[in-house]
Each structure stands twice: as structure tokens, then as C-alpha cells.
């Protein structure tokens, strides 16, 4: 029998997933050429390539072809399989800067098949741990690897595990934190959907290491596909005896189940998550006692992020030293980032720690959209800060990002250009935190609200000098006295923008001007008479009749009547409306 060539197909334009139609057509063309039996075409969920039209990956030689059209299929098949012609023009060279450890299987294997996962070293680590390693040895290996929690805070994973391991209480739990709530981040979702078995394996290994009897997946209800895939992976693992009583003939027994989140950002916080799994309102508890000591139903519980868990099996397989060789002195391994905002190639990337932000933005993401000037990069979502353009060469690691006043966070990386307002952005994040505050402790509930009122005032052009000082004082109070990380970190976006973009705040407060034109209450529309062709389009479209005048005298905007809706700005064909 002739050799089977496997193709992975994917429509990366993402406007609509047409991969299925493409696959049908692909197979039809192959049938017409009579080479149907020598190929296999599989739809991939994510190849790590975006906005490149149809992409095909040839698994026999790992070559990727991009920007294909339906009409290119015949040419493609003839060239790759029958040696007629060439399709070199479609060859896609992926950037070499990325290093895929956590995402290694995403888009490569069928996430719903345990066999495919096993063919990619799946569950080898579990077998190795159960047969050759004591739980202490597993923790030792984690210590060597230097892996730190990928949820944001970066607590050493091994340390958390050994706290639970050394607890006197024998009933212990493992929780996978899949409550990814950061706006602008979707790393966990992609891993849960793309490689669910890796996380199941990580959960089992974590359970073995700390001596737990049960594990819980806590996943956002907003991620139905991730839930479905994890449930399926768990069911498959039970079938193969990888879960349940006496796993792989050892005396280790372990159960896994899925619990759903219900749309509360604060539940990403460890103790709030525990409350939620217990079926209560997700309000954080005061710490100590830490969850590793008293967690779920007051038993020792370790809570690890999805990305952390996804790395564990490979650490056991390849040894802790292997991971420790990657990254910086204090931050080991790789980190997945979701790059969004004003960049050319937004998407998921995985990079070794220590790579600089500029390498990510200009190298991997292809630079700023529309050739605009980069203003700042935001990491860590509502808990993080902005990194201004002049610090763009900061390496990505827990310690370096903390130095410049941001945090690693869970992996959102948002690029902002000159059109973004550095008062409006922190206002957005602060509003998010205020809405999501659970209301249990006063610094977060009241402090956040008051801060939001002040920044709203500034954005509306009603700010006074003293407001800035007042915000600083509230922020300090929140950072020191809030019960959980949500309140402690909520002022970060405001504080870091105030630090790096003081001039912009000054403009808002003193000059009542918004450079980017985002703070609409401060914007003024006027008509540039030199450009105006007197077409009256703006006059006709203005919803409140604020534009008046005549062809002879020209048109003017009545600032009192104007509601700053921007309609005139949009409809003008000659760019004659000036927004300031």
C-alpha cells in the first residue's frame, strides 16, 4: 500500500469556519485525481497561524502551505503527491521565535481522541510516575524545573504541592482553575479545547504528588466546547483505567469531575473558587489559612492554572532540568500569550521566558496595525499595568514585568497605539473590577467605586488637580487592605498609566483635552473650511441639527447643541470634520 500522507486543513481567515466545506472539496478533488486512498485530510482546530486564508499542513514533512484558494487544491495535490508542478509559492515559514511546550499538541492532534494523545507521549508521564517515582520524587522534579504558577502570581508550583503533601489531613483535593476571566485572554480555553488530555494527565499527576483522592475541573460555563472536551477526555481516561480505582495497577485511586463557573471574575481567585465549588457565592476567604492547608471543605487543596497543569506531564517525561534550561534565572519555561489589540497578527503564541516585548510585538505579531506608532503594551488584564513604548525591551518574566509596574498575569497582551487614550483604558479596566467586585470587603467595594467616579469625572473633563492625589491615596488603601488579589490589584492599571502617562492625565485635568479623542465628552467637532466641499452631508445626517450655515458662508458646528456622536465625522467624505 502506498504511503499515507496526512494533511491538516484549516481556514484561518476566521470570518467563518469554512474548513468543513474545504475538506469535502479537498477530498473530492483527490478522488477525481484517483489518489484518494493515499491521503488523509483532517480538520485542525488551530495551527497557530491567523489571517492567512486556507492553510494546509503536510504532516509527513511538517511543511505548511498558506493562502490557498479552493481553486488551488488540484495544483496542490498534483505537486505534493504526483510530483507535477510546484506549490512553493504557498510555503509558509513559521516564525522560529516561538517555542511550543504547552501548546505542542494544539492543532496537531484530534483533541477528542485519547489514542492520538497517547501516540504523542500521552500518559507516559503518568505511567512513569506511578511505576518509578514516589510522590516526593515527583515534587522534587517539579522543584528542579522551577515551574511557577501561570495564573498570574507566579507562586512556585512545587512549594504549593509540598505544603499539601505535608499536611496532616489525609483528605486532599486538586483543582484545575479554568475560570479564565481576564478580558482579552484565551490561552486556557485554547489549551482545554486543543489538548484536554494533557490537562487531565497533569491533574492526575498533581493528585498523585500530593496524595489527593479527588480532583475538580472548574471551568467557565461560557466555554461549552472546553467543557465538552474535558468531560470526554475524563470519560476516555476512565475507560482506559487511567482514572478510578488502582490506576494502572498501582494503589493510587483518583476521581475527577467537572464543575462549572457561572460568570464571576472573582472566582478566578483561589479561595473564591473554592467557595464556588462548594456551591456558594464566590466570595474570597481571608488568608491564612491558605488553601494548601485548609481549602475545599476545609481540607488541603491545591489549585493550579490550566497552563501550569499542561506543562506537568512533559516535566515528568523529560525531567525537571529540561524545563529549567529554558527561560530566565527566576522564571523558567515558556509562557502562552494571547496577543490582541492593534497588531497585525493577533493570536496565541508561546514563547520562552526572557524574550522581550518588542520581539513579540514586532517579530511575532508583525508590528502595529496600519503602521501606527506603538503607545503602550498592557499585560495582566485588569490586574496588570501598562508598559510604555520606551520600556518595550523589557524581557517577559515575573521579575522584570514586576519591576516596570506590571505583572505577568494570565497571559493577555494588549497592544495599544496612538489612537488609544491612556485615561480611557484604565477606566475600562477599573469599571470591570468594580462590576466584578464581590462586595465582601470595604476597600475593594468602596475604594474601587470611588476611584471609578473620579476617573469618570476626569474623562468627562470635570477633573481637578486634587483628584490625581486622591486616586493615589485610595489606590494605596486598596492595595494594602483588600481581602483578595482582585481588590489589591484593581488600581494597577490606573497607577501605572498615571506613572508613565502623567502628561496625558494633566491634559485631561488642566487642558480638558483628550489627545486620542476617546473621551467623547471632551471632544469637539469642527469643520475645516478649507477642506469642506459644502456637500451638506453632515448637516443632513446630524441627529440634533447642530450644524448650520449656507453654501456661501460655510457650515459651523454649534458646540452647545452637539451631542458628540461623531456621525458627521464618519459621513464626511473629504475629512473636513476635525475632531479634537
Amino acid at each position: 500500500m502506498s504511503k499515507q500522507t496526512i494533511f491538516l486543513l484549516r481556514d484561518t481567515s476566521l470570518t467563518q469556519d469554512k474548513t468543513r466545506d474545504f475538506q469535502i472539496l479537498f477530498l473530492k478533488v483527490a478522488r477525481d485525481l484517483g489518489i484518494e486512498d493515499s491521503i488523509q485530510a483532517v480538520r485542525a482546530s488551530d495551527l497557530g497561524i491567523y489571517d492567512k486564508g486556507y492553510v494546509i499542513k503536510d504532516l509527513t514533512n511538517e511543511v505548511i502551505y498558506a493562502n490557498l484558494q479552493e481553486s488551488d487544491i488540484e495544483k496542490f495535490l498534483k505537486a505534493t503527491l504526483m510530483g507535477e508542478g510546484s506549490v512553493d509559492e504557498f510555503k509558509y515559514t513559521p516564525d522560529k521565535c516561538q517555542l511550543r511546550i504547552v501548546l505542542r499538541n494544539c492543532g496537531v492532534i484530534d483533541p477528542e481522541s485519547i489514542d492520538e494523545y497517547m501516540a504523542h507521549e500521552g500518559y507516559c508521564a503518568l505511567a512513569k510516575a506511578l511505576t518509578e517515582m514516589t510522590p516526593e520524587k515527583v515534587i522534587e522534579e517539579m522543584k528542579k524545573s522551577g515551574l511557577r504558577g501561570r495564573g498570574g502570581a507566579g507562586f512556585p508550583t512545587w512549594m504549593k504541592w509540598s505544603f499539601a503533601r505535608n499536611s496532616l489531613d489525609e483528605t486532599r483535593f486538586v483543582v484545575c482553575n479554568g475560570d479564565e476571566g481576564d478580558p482579552g485572554a484565551y490561552m486556557d480555553r485554547s489549551i482545554l479545547e486543543g489538548d484536554p488530555h494533557a490537562i487531565v494527565e497533569g491533574m492526575i499527576l498533581a493528585g498523585y504528588a500530593i496524595g489527593a483522592q479527588r480532583g475538580f475541573f472548574y471551568i467557565r460555563a461560557e466555554y461549552p466546547l472546553a467543557i465538552k472536551r474535558i468531560e470526554k477526555a475524563i470519560a476516555q481516561a476512565y475507560e482506559r483505567g487511567l482514572l478510578g480505582e488502582n490506576i494502572l495497577g498501582s494503589d493510587f485511586s483518583y476521581e475527577l469531575e467537572v464543575r462549572l463557573g457561572a460568570g464571576a471574575f472573582v472566582c478566578g481567585e483561589e479561595t473564591a473558587l473554592i467557595e464556588s465549588i462548594e456551591g456558594k457565592r464566590g466570595m474570597p476567604r481571608s488568608r491564612p489559612p491558605f488553601p494548601a492547608d485548609k481549602g475545599l471543605w476545609n481540607h488541603p487543596t491545591i489549585i493550579n492554572n490550566v497552563e501550569t497543569l499542561a506543562a506537568i506531564a512533559q516535566i515528568i517525561n523529560r525531567g525537571g532540568e529540561w524545563l529549567a534550561r529554558i527561560g530566565t534565572e527566576k522564571s523558567k519555561g515558556t509562557k502562552v500569550f494571547a496577543i490582541t489589540g492593534k497588531v497585525k497578527n493577533s493570536g496565541l503564541i508561546e514563547i520562552p521566558m526572557g524574550m522581550t516585548i518588542s520581539e513579540i510585538v514586532y517579530g511575532i505579531a508583525g508590528g502595529v496595525l496600519g503602521g501606527q506608532k506603538l503607545m503602550a503594551v498592557q499585560t495582566g488584564g485588569p490586574s496588570g499595568g501598562v508598559i510604555p513604548e520606551h520600556l518595550i525591551n523589557t524581557p517577559v518574566s515575573y521579575e522584570h514585568l514586576a519591576e516596570v509596574g506590571s505583572i505577568m498575569g494570565s497571559g493577555g497582551l494588549i497592544v495599544m497605539d496612538e489612537d488609544d487614550c491612556m485615561v480611557d483604558i484604565p477606566r475600562f479596566y477599573l469599571r470591570f473590577c468594580v462590576e466584578e467586585s464581590c462586595g465582601k470587603c470595604a476597600p475593594c467595594r468602596i475604594g474601587g467605586y470611588q476611584m471609578l467616579k473620579i476617573i469618570d469625572r476626569i474623562a468627562e473633563g470635570k477633573g481637578v488637580e486634587a483628584d490625581l492625589e486622591k486616586m493615589k491615596r485610595i489606590a494605596e488603601g486598596m492595595q494594602k487592605a483588600s481581602l483578595c488579589a482582585l481588590g489589591q490589584t484593581a488600581p494597577n492599571p490606573v497607577m501605572s498609566t498615571m506613572k508613565y502617562f502623567a502628561e496625558e492625565y494633566r491634559q485631561h485635568v488642566q487642558d480638558k483635552k483628550c489627545r486620542a479623542g476617546k473621551c467623547t465628552k471632551m471632544v469637539q467637532y469642527s469643520i475645516d473650511q478649507a477642506k469642506c466641499k459644502k456637500c451638506k452631508l453632515c448637516v443632513v445626517n446630524c441627529p440634533v441639527g447642530a450644524i448650520s450655515g449656507s453654501r456661501e458662508e460655510g457650515y459651523v458646528v454649534d458646540q452647545v447643541k452637539c451631542i458628540k456622536c461623531g456621525t458627521c465625522y464618519e459621513v464626511c467624505k473629504f475629512n473636513a470634520i476635525v475632531r479634537k
Binding site: 489571517d51 460555563a221 464571576a264 456551591g279 456558594k280 457565592r281 471543605w297 493570536g347 464581590c438
Partner: protein, 176 residues
């Protein structure tokens, strides 16, 4: 999660009792599973009706207040029935930067509803949701259809009216 249709069963009261009893049996012995039970209720009805909450409280032997405590805390649970077509506008950071607030404004002016409200004819509901996780497509809104949510990506403000029209009564007839 595919939302079941909200059509009344032939014998609503009886099937409802049965459903709640089954549901209670499924979760009663599992510790801390109230949220999971409520997810099942919401999947079935699209919201958590008061009479169902009362019956569930009775079956699970928890105070009704506990159920309401949970339902009102989490954004995901609703106390009012959803509109037939739920338009969810993503307000993640990327969508925010790329114009989601304008989309919301446009929908508000076209349908005359605010966030979370349903139009008086029960046809549309507008929700503002947290990051849908497809920031590369910003701004994004989804409309629920029978086969699952339909995602509209990279939409300019002008296209909103067109999308809404697609789900209007006459728009539906045209489809058929």
C-alpha cells in the same frame, strides 16, 4: 450548551415536577452541587423561574434564600426569561478598543433596549458579555440560533441593522 427551546410541554406542571425531581436525584448526593443543578435548570428554561427555584429548594432541602443568594451573585444566571434572539456583544478589551461600545449604542438605538433587557415583543434581547475569547475577530457579537450561537466578526456599526433585520419576523419568513 445548546439551549433547549422554550416551548411548553404538553403537560407543563407534571413534566416540570418530574424534571426537578430527576435533577435533584442527580445532584443530591454530590457535595456542593447547587450551582450545577442551577446550570441544568437554566439550560432547560433559559432562566431560573421562581416556581422551579422553590421546588428545587424543597427537593434539595436547601433554603430558597440560598438558591437566590447564588443566582443573584453569578452573572450567568438569569431571573427573567430571555428574548427569542439573544444578541450578545463582546466587551472584552480587544472588542472595546475596536468599537464594541459603538455597536452597543447602535443596538440600543435600534431596539430601544438597554443591556440585559428584552424588547417588548420578546423577539430580541441584548446582552453585553465578557470576553468571548476570539479577540482576533474584534469587534464580535453573537446571536443564538437553533444550531448554536452564530458569530458575527469584525462588524462595522453600519452592519448592525442588517444583522438585526435578519432575525426579524419578516426576515425569518424570507429564510423559509
Amino acid at each position: 450548551m445548546g439551549k433547549k427551546t422554550l416551548t411548553k410541554a404538553d403537560n407543563p406542571a407534571e413534566t416540570q415536577d418530574q424534571m426537578i425531581a430527576d435533577l435533584a436525584d442527580k445532584w443530591r448526593d454530590k457535595k456542593g452541587s447547587l450551582i450545577m443543578a442551577l446550570h441544568d435548570v437554566q439550560d432547560h428554561y433559559g432562566y431560573v423561574p421562581r416556581d422551579v427555584a422553590r421546588k428545587l429548594a424543597h427537593e434539595l432541602d436547601v433554603p430558597l434564600a440560598r438558591i437566590y443568594e447564588v443566582v443573584t451573585f453569578y452573572n450567568y444566571f438569569k431571573l427573567t426569561p430571555p428574548g427569542k434572539h439573544r444578541i450578545s456583544v463582546c466587551m472584552g478589551t480587544a472588542c472595546y478598543l475596536k468599537g464594541a461600545p459603538e455597536l452597543i449604542e447602535e443596538i440600543e438605538s435600534l431596539l430601544g433596549v438597554k443591556e440585559g433587557q428584552t424588547t417588548s415583543d420578546g423577539l430580541y434581547q441584548m446582552d453585553v458579555v465578557r470576553c468571548l475569547g476570539c479577540c482576533g475577530l474584534a469587534p464580535v457579537l453573537t446571536v443564538n440560533e437553533e444550531e448554536g450561537d452564530k458569530v458575527y466578526a469584525k462588524i462595522p456599526r453600519k452592519q448592525v441593522a442588517e444583522i438585526i433585520a435578519k432575525y426579524s419576523k419578516s426576515g425569518e419568513n424570507e429564510k423559509k
